[in-house]
Amino acid sequence: MHPGIIFLGVIIGSVLFHIFTPWWWTDIASNWGAMDDTINLTFWIGGGVFVLVCLFMVYCIFMFSYKEGRNVEYKPEDHKLEKILTIATTVGVIALLAPGLIVYNNYINTPKDALQVEVNAWQWGWQYRLPGEDGILGTAQVAKITDDNPFGINLDDPNGKDDILIEDDVLHLKTNRPVKILLRSLDVLHNYYVPQFRAKMDAIPGILTYYWFEPNKIGEYEVLCAEYCGVGHYAMRAKVIVESEDNYQKWINEQETFSDLIAKQENDKLKITIVAKSNN
């Protein structure tokens, strides 16, 4: 059998696989449809080039396999052809890059009305902090973390007092409201990634990173840690629940703020001292 047939089979097979594949991206649940569009565009241009290049190659090996005395072209260079190809490729590249950069520009510029959510990552789990009524998160440092202050909030920062602390890996979000995810890590690199939202960013100890998206489909989503962070990396999952405004309000009202926590702890301490005293 002529090897060209097998190569042809590989190309056709690839295209068919692409068309009929049961594996495809999860239904998008955020505003980043534009990312999917750029991917599709890249598929069209890139896939087209792949097929063309390979078909031309197959054509050549069919037409020009070895024959004694075949008339072979001797033309070391063809400036015109080379110029055309360079320009065509440059055009292709620009066609891919321009939309990509526009999408990226949106990605790094968070809308003003975005809700802030701080994600705290550690080996190997997640917790969250939401700004309280003032809409501002208090500053925090890893060095300040204690049992009483699980997020390391600076005690002298008034903005931190009403911050809502969620010491649990389930995060609730409102639909159709942009969120700015602020990522902190307490130890190593992590990455807060929900495939349906498309967006992702690493959490890095020592600095703060961010990304934003607008969830637009009610449902429950799994969070995967997408940056290697040690043996527990694969098990570092969490959950995001996107829900309606009402449910969200209900949920948020049940959560504890930092001052609640402090108050509770004072209370506990008090209790302990009382107990201790009464024991004496």
Partner: protein, 610 residues
């Protein structure tokens, strides 16, 4: 003592006599007289100086080759173990999460650095550079020998890390701190230290070799060998070596700094960290800095393994398609341009790393610019096939396999380079599929093709074509069916470096594919036994090759003895009159004109001036 060397510095005359003779053809055959005196070589006599501490670049090349293939096989076995875990979790009880990550790390590092880099530059570079540019040996044979032994020690240190307490490092081949040196990662004590030491040794050893390759190519070419008459193989290896000389420093620096972070608790890369409820003694450092240093090395590194492959494949295609390579000049400029640009794109690996977000624009642009010269190379390969006379032998098959896999992998690279597209795909199996396509198979195809091509030169015997074809189809189809579907895992969103996928809804849908990939990987792996058998058997029963069995033009086939002896050229260095791609020149008697053929012998052929 004196017979250990060539005659005391022969004067220049030894080489320039040719132009002095007053033949009538003097004008068109004129080649500038020699600039350099005859090289002074040390000839070993004992077994040790001839085969162990040998200063002959050809022997050193073979030593590099064998050592690198050994590490490659270790890497291959590790990949089976990984695949077994991914396809059939819990089938192999001893693969725990710790072990899995150690396998991934060692697999990646071995394959990229100790296998491909060493094989291409140390192996092919040493063997081919002096032969192809017409030198007697590398310019500093002694340093060259030390280079190999440094590499050898580096490999030993690397392999030793499998046996130390805690095992080898499991930090991922990118070795990102802080996790690389914290207890949550396997092998974070001895393992990581040995890895860093081994890499440093590798860099030092490589620097010694690299200086040799660069200076041999720049300063020790034979008469008539201009830069624009060098085979593309040499251009690829040369540029790759230049990249390595400039990229490895960043690796060395990051290794030193990480070693200090580990051993002395400095805080170069370590910010304040909470471990098990305790704040560690670190503070103020920047993990991102490591990533920048690593990728300032890492991206040139991936071209270090790609450029020699580009060069070699150009030569193989040209020889076996019996046609000149199309657009030689363009190919050279593309190689050099890709090399130069590769220092300006490193942070495309860090789009989602939390670096300054504005960098995305810069790096996406530079990254996609690189696609243009690369695309030109691809076009030139396939245009070379057009109206050629293609021998469909094993070597050519591997070249075709290379083109298919490289274009496929290159285009997925374009996905990743475009920052908005990379965001959903980064750190998923799409990336894994991308780089195995473009680095795991494409250059390997070239290596295998190159082995079929140059085996007759090195050993004097041909490899079996029949076994070769089986080997090719198993490898190509098998590897393609491993990695082509793998892209779609990435689309689903399966993250890389996952020990187990189990319960996620969209991940479980891929179980079937994972099993399939594992089976394919095992088949491909085992089919390499055909190759190894072919090599071992052909050493004794292979058809004698004779001189220049492929009717190639380039110098390495034109030595007086095959396989070439120490000093390569016998009495007199060859004199070059043309580029190595004069195949099927109209008017010539044969379908090839070797580089040493003087114009007066092919008067009737319409060769283009090079």
């Amino acid at each position: 003592m004196s017979d250990e060397y060539n005659q005391e510095n022969k004067p220049l005359e030894a080489q320039s006599s040719e132009t002095m003779s007053g033949t009538p053809s003097k004008d068109i055959d004129y080649v500038r007289p020699a600039e350099l005196p005859e090289q002074d070589l040390y000839h070993g006599h004992s077994f040790i100086t001839k085969w162990i501490f040998c200063q002959d670049a050809k022997v050193i090349g073979v030593q590099y080759f064998l050592t690198a293939v050994f590490t490659g096989i270790v890497g291959l076995v590790l990949s089976w173990l990984m695949r077994l875990q991914l396809g059939y979790p819990e089938l192999v009880p001893f693969i725990t999460a710790e072990h899995y990550y150690q396998f991934v790390t060692m697999h990646g590092m071995i394959m990229v650095v100790y296998f491909l880099t060493a094989l291409f530059l140390g192996g092919f570079g040493n063997y081919l550079i002096p032969l192809m540019v017409g030198a007697r040996d590398m310019v500093f044979p002694y340093v060259n020998m030390v280079s190999f032994w440094m590499f050898f020690i580096a490999v030993c240190v690397l392999m030793a890390s499998f046996f130390v307490p805690g095992g080898p490092t499991g930090a991922g081949w990118t070795l990102y701190p802080p996790q690389a040196i914290l207890p949550g990662t396997p092998g974070s004590n001895m393992g990581i230290i040995l890895m860093l030491v081994s890499l440093s040794l590798f860099v030092i050893g490589f620097t010694m070799g690299g200086l040799n390759y660069i200076i041999t190519i720049l300063q020790a070419r034979t008469r008539g060998m201009t830069l624009m008459r060098m085979p593309l193989t040499i251009w690829g290896i040369f540029t790759a070596t230049a990249l390595a000389m400039l990229a490895f420093p960043a690796l060395l620096v990051s290794c030193i700094m990480m070693t200090l972070d580990k051993m002395l608790e400095t805080s170069f890369f370590m910010p304040t960290i909470l471990q098990a409820g305790e704040v560690l003694d670190y503070g103020g450092g920047s993990p991102i800095l490591f990533q920048h240093l690593f990728w300032f090395f890492g991206h040139p590194e991936v071209y270090i393994v790609a450029l020699p492959a580009f060069g070699i494949v150009s030569d193989l295609i040209s020889v076996h398609a019996r046609k000149n390579i199309f657009g030689y000049r363009m190919m050279v400029w593309a190689i050099v341009g890709i090399g130069a640009l590769s220092f300006f794109v490193w942070a495309h690996h860090m789009y989602v790393s939390g670096m300054n977000p504005w960098f995305g624009f810069f790096f996406a642009t530079t990254t996609l610019i690189i696609a243009v010269p690369t695309a030109l190379k691809v076009y030139n390969w396939i245009i070379t096939l057009f109206r050629a006379n293609i021998r469909m032998n094993t070597v050519m098959l591997f070249c075709l396999g290379f083109i298919v896999t490289f274009v496929n992998g290159g285009i997925t690279g374009i996905f990743l380079g475009n920052v908005a597209v990379d965001i959903p795909l980064s750190d998923t199996y799409f990336v894994i599929a991308h780089f195995h396509m473009v680095m795991g198979i494409a250059p390997l195809m070239v290596i295998m093709g190159a082995v079929y091509h140059w085996f007759p030169l090195v050993t004097g015997r041909m490899l079996s074509e029949k076994l070769g074809k089986w080997h090719f189809w198993f490898t190509f189809l098998g590897a393609y069916s491993i990695y082509f579907p793998m892209h779609y895992l990435g689309f689903i969103g399966v993250p890389r470096r996952y020990f187990e996928m189990y319960d996620s809804p969209y991940v479980t849908s891929a179980t079937g594919m994972n099993e399939f990939i594992t089976v394919a990987a095992l088949i491909v792996g085992f089919s390499q036994l055909i190759f190894i058998y072919n090599i071992v058997a052909s050493l004794s029963i292979g058809k004698p090759a004779g001189k220049n069995p492929w009717k190639a033009n380039s110098l390495e086939w034109l030595t007086p003895e095959v396989p070439p002896a120490h000093g390569n050229w016998g009495e007199k260095l060859p004199v070059i009159h043309r580029w190595p791609y004069d195949f099927n020149v109209p008017g010539a008697k044969e379908d090839y004109i070797t580089q040493t053929t003087p114009p007066s012998e092919v008067i009737s052929a319409e060769v283009e001036k090079t």
